[in-house]
Amino acid sequence: MVDAPSWLLLAPLALAALAAVVAAFLPPRTAALLGAATAAAGFACYLAGLLALSEGGRITAPLMAVPSLGIGGGLAADGLSLLFAMLITGIGALIFLYSSAYLAHDPRLRRLAVMLLAFMLAMLGSVTADDVIVLFVFWEVTSLTSFFLVGFNHQDKGARQAALQALLVTGGGGLALLAGLVLVSSAAGTTSISGILAAREAVLAHPAAGPAMLLVILGCFTKSAQVPFHFWLPNAMAAPTPVSAYLHSATMVKLGVYLLARFNPLYQDEAAWQAILTWGGLATTATGAFLALRETDLKRVLAYTTVTGLGTLTMLIGIAPAQAAIAAVTFLIVHAFYKAALFLVAGIVDHETGQRDISRLGGLGRSMPLTAAAAVLAALSMAGLPPFVGFVAKELVYEVKIEGGDLAAVLLAVGFLVNAAMVAIAGVLSLRLFFGPLRPTPKAPHDPGFAMLAGPLLLAVLGLLAGSLPGLLGARLVDPAATAILGRPADAALALWHGLNPVLALSAATVAAGALLFVCWGRLVPRLRGLAFIDLLGPAAAYERGLAWTIATAERCTRAIQHGSLRGYLRTLFAVTAVAVLATLLFRGGLALPAFDPTGLDARALAFIGLIVGAVASATAPTVFIAVISMGLVGFATAIIFLVFGAPDVAFTQFAVETLLVVIFAAALVHLPIRRRSRRTGPERATDAVIAAATGLATTLLLLAVLATPYDRRLADWFGAESFPAAHGRNVVNVILVDFRALDTLGEITVLALAAFAVTALLRRGQEGKTP
């Protein structure tokens, strides 16, 4: 079913790609504004797509099909994809606008704009891909752009380490995801996501269905910073604040959640899927909330609350009932609104005061009233107070937990504590920062300009509006997305007022507990920080140890393999060659030992004795001088062998070369220590002898194996037959060299000439060095 033209999906991607290229040549501020315009245009496309979407319908577009690799390719967007795409482009437009002021007068703004555009392109591709391979490619590009954006301040060592950590964790998860996707698509017989979802029975019946599901979950958990992979997210706060707001709060970290939601129709009835997601998500919410209470750095606090938010989303997808999907989508929208707004506010505070430590900030509301307004509105939504949309979401989440069957008690207890912590932190981020006694800051604070205020104010007001008109939000955004998560129609009856019921009582109790926590916050944080064992035992420490071990092992391997000793390399080379040849001959039946046949022998065999004697003498020669003479013996024995086996031309060349070599060596040895004895120790000699003997044995056996096969005479006969008729020469060897293979001979002469040049140059250079 196609509801809207496919260009609605292609245009935002094409625009982003084009803008990323164009922005690289624009002035920094213009580049950022171009990014904002691109994102806004993309938002308009997706909005048009959403409005045209019928219930359960989808938009498709062809892209990146590689049929030869079995990649069907293609884009498709249903309610869930469009919701994500609108969040990405909508918040993206505000982020670009914000960045243009946040990094104004910084030449690196252009680089930021280009990378953010590339990131946006990858995100949009990820959420609208209908092919697991296309999805994976875009997914990895988001990890890569995240690496560059976290390491934006690359002069800072901490930023570089954080960027590497984010890349290793999400990239490692990406590998797991790829394996999982390949397993799933091979089980389904298609790489198309809609095809995989349609082939549900086949995928679940596959023998590797369980591991495939676990691998997909692993990929999603690393991307979405679920326990125990949550530690990279706070460190990623080394990025500039607009990046943190965009990638590490509103969009990229939700990609894992998106994929879990995308695959939920496939796995939603699997007990393992439900259990891992529910408990993993729950553990993540608790971990995030607890760790958030240990921090005073604005951005790290926000990062940990984001971990909590992501955990909530995962947990909601894991809980099976239809209501959970609706709650998940609602919470997703709500979280994107308030968290992005709060991040942008944090950026403003940091930018205008030069201070990010909450314990040293206070009373900023007087000098920056508009910022304070945005912060308070967003914080009220975060705390889940009416009439904000956060309240709607929190009610839904509580409702789901109450209906959560046997788990209800645990879910509610943990959820209550986590929500109380969120209320307290929302209070800290609004009341404590902007009201109360004014604390001195490095810079005199004041409200920033329009570009920086537009984002947080708009998002905060949207939170208020969406909360006041929950019906519109439900019908237009939540319904289609929840339908996609469930794989069956969902009906989101969002309401602000649910009547006086247990959920409302729970909400009230949460706010009360949160208020209590808020009051104690100043005393609580130092105590929690004092619990140093948490830093020592956490997965972050395991990551550090693992990384250090990997590097140390790599170093040891490199030292073992690339030790820099020529002798060592040669020993390895010969030993491996000998063993490989011998093993092949022995185990692959290549051995061909001929019977000894004395009738074939004649006096020519005596020349072989000269060969052997010369070889033994040169190897055992006490000094180099004797070795050179023995080498001459081998050379002359070789020449004789050539002569008596019908190769006089070769023999004469060998004689000439051997004579020349001895002369040249004699000339060189005048300058060299020829009488020095070998310095090898006894054991070294023994191993060297073994390696040498093995190589020699391998050579002999190999030659015997060659001799046992019939000789292919075609080439030899052809040269013999053609030599006189074609080249008018009776000496076949000469004809081959100067006629049939004349070009080879030319090359040979060239090599010799080059060697002569090099030798002359080397000898001259030394003389010049001596004379000045």
């Binding site: 820099g564 001929p594 060969l611 070789t638 070998s678 310095r679 010799l752």
Partner: protein, 132 residues
């Protein structure tokens, strides 16, 4: 006959590898020359040996008959000459190395590729040097 030559070639290879593994560059060079010789002989042997008659086309005949195989000979001729050029060049390198560094031991020539002693451990490892 062929078997005997194969054994003799194996002996030359053994000697050449043993010399190759020496620390002394001159011995290594001798090993290199012997290795080249043994490979030339191996080419000859692989082309089969036997007739003492060189591969010359008899006057009056059009094709070669009952003579040694010409093909390996052409290959070996090329190999001998190239090997000679390479040996001469290597010998001059040894000579110059000895002139510059005062040694013909490969293990003592670590300075030919200087690596800063203070380089951090994560960089490329410094060449491993055995005590002279």
């Amino acid at each position: 006959m062929e078997t005997l030559l194969a054994i003799a070639i194996g002996a030359v290879v053994t000697a050449s590898v043993y010399l190759f593994l020496s620390r002394d560059l001159l011995r290594m060079l001798i090993g290199f020359i012997l290795f080249g010789t043994s490979v030339n002989l191996a080419i000859l042997l692989a082309g089969r040996i036997g007739p003492i008659r060189p591969p010359l086309v008899d006057p009056g005949a059009a094709a070669l008959e009952a003579a040694a195989n010409p093909l390996p000979q052409a290959l070996i001729l090329t190999a001998i000459v190239i090997g000679f050029g390479l040996t001469a060049f290597a010998l001059v390198l040894v000579l110059k190395g000895h002139e510059a560094l005062g040694t013909t031991s490969a293990e003592d020539m670590g300075e030919a590729e200087p690596v800063a002693a203070t380089a951090p451990s994560t960089a490329l490892p410094a060449p491993h040097r055995k005590a002279a």
